[in-house]
Amino acid sequence: MNSRHVGPAHGAHEGGHARRIPRADTLSSRLTVAAVAGILGILAVGQLRGQSGAPGLAALSATDLSQLIANLTTGNDQLRAEVTDLEGQQGQLQDARDRGETAVGSLTSDLARIRAWAGLAAVTGQGIAIVVRGPIGGDGVEDLLNELRNAGAEAISVDGTRIVTGVVVAGAPGALSVENDAIGDTFEIRAIGSPQILTGTLTRTGGVIAQLGATYPDAQLTVTPVEQQTLPATDRPLVPTHGKPEL
């Protein structure tokens, strides 16, 4: 009955064990199929997980992953604090409403906070001042601003102009402008945030200031911690006119 499951060569070599050999061969075939099916399952799961859960993570080194974990952890801490804050705000509004009152104080402070964060109101606080002397390109200044945001700057100004969404420092070295105002070869960037973190991030070995020094060797950047400074509000209208709130 098993002869067709076994190759003729096997049958010939094993002679009188013709009835037992096919059984052994069937068993090994089944084991092989089971092993292949197992590998298939593992690969299929790996493929699905790789595609759905973590696109690109497989390409990151252990160092990159550690950096990503640090970023995500910090970001999640901030998000957790925001959730707590919003829950408190919602509770105040609900309580006031239940009592037939209005939480004017809560609304006013929320408005002030959002306007300050968005750049619609002047803000004050500690931070750093960066004096730039010498020709530098708009790309270089934008790299610097990006690094300041990455280091947690809460408000930034360039040559007295508040940097908000839509405001870009552009132009070739010696021909910089911000919001259509020309900037000279010497100007000041101010940022509010932790002076230690901002200074450390900018001035670390291989950091953005070192990179700018290599790209723009004639430019000098000096970073100074500041205990108290005030950054102006933006003049730019930020409420969209072409974009409408989604209903």
Partner: protein
């Protein structure tokens, strides 16, 4: 033909199963290998728990962001439903709505552009990979062309948003984004014309994208949806300046 069919029928079912399984195995191995290119692979043992930690933190981040958007919506609804609001209070609610719109805390829809920025062909080298700098240049050019709102793979670009490299991918608002990057912008109907007239944009397309084999495609759309910024607006170091200050 009949002989082939007969021979096939004569094959043991185990062999057929094994052959099919091996074929599928081959495809899966090839897909797995192809999926890893062109970015480098690392096989050290310590990566598995790190990747799992990242996945857990990303899930946590998504949950926080969803909660933030839900709470902001509820707060907005509570404000809007205040039936006995005096005129002064209604003005306060309107100011809040404007401030949230200006800050990007409300999802918007409007005419605009949708870009898709992709890595170059596999094996073409590190210069063919889209970097944070590339994304920033495109965002910058869109602002200069008059965009009112921008998102990168669904992450709304806000006043505190940084775009930084992490390995071969980017982080925006602390969210890990992998290529291809879809950059959406809402703005005036002639946004693309304005963009195309920019010398810096033309240099970017010709000198960076085309030269390194990357791909940048664009669609002009009558309606582009931008999600709300779901990050924090808490200020730790900055405080609203007293009135009278600049």
């Amino acid at each position: 033909m009949t002989a082939i069919v007969a021979r096939f029928r004569g094959l043991p079912s185990v062999q057929v199963t094994l052959a099919v399984a091996l074929l599928v195995l081959g495809f899966l191995v090839a897909a797995q290998v192809a999926g890893e290119k062109p970015r480098a692979q690392y096989t050290t043992q310590e990566r598995a728990p790190l990747i799992q930690t990242v996945i857990d933190l990303q899930a946590q981040q998504e949950a926080f962001k969803a909660k933030i958007l839900e709470l902001r919506q509820k707060i907005g609804d509570l404000e809007a439903q205040d039936p006995g609001a005096a005129a002064s209070l209604r003005q306060l609610y309107a100011d809040l709505e404007d401030a949230r719109l200006a800050a990007g805390l409300i999802a918007i829809t409007g005419p605009g552009l949708a870009f898709r920025l992709q890595d170059g062909t596999p094996g073409a080298g590190v210069d063919s990979l889209v970097s944070a700098q590339d994304v920033r240049i495109l965002v910058r050019e869109l602002w200069l062309a008059g965009a009112e709102g921008i998102s990168i793979n669904g992450e709304r670009v806000a006043t505190t948003s940084a775009v930084i490299d992490i390995g071969g991918s980017v982080l925006v608002n602390s969210a890990y984004l992998a290529p291809p990057y879809e950059i959406r912008a809402v703005g005036p109907p002639d946004l693309y014309d304005r963009l195309r007239s920019s010398v810096a944009f033309a240099d970017f397309v010709q000198g960076r994208i085309e030269r390194n084999g990357m791909s940048l495609s664009v669609a002009e759309l009558a309606s582009v949806d931008l999600k709300a910024y779901a990050g924090t607006v808490n200020l730790r170091y900055a405080a609203p300046a007293a009135s009278g200050q600049p």
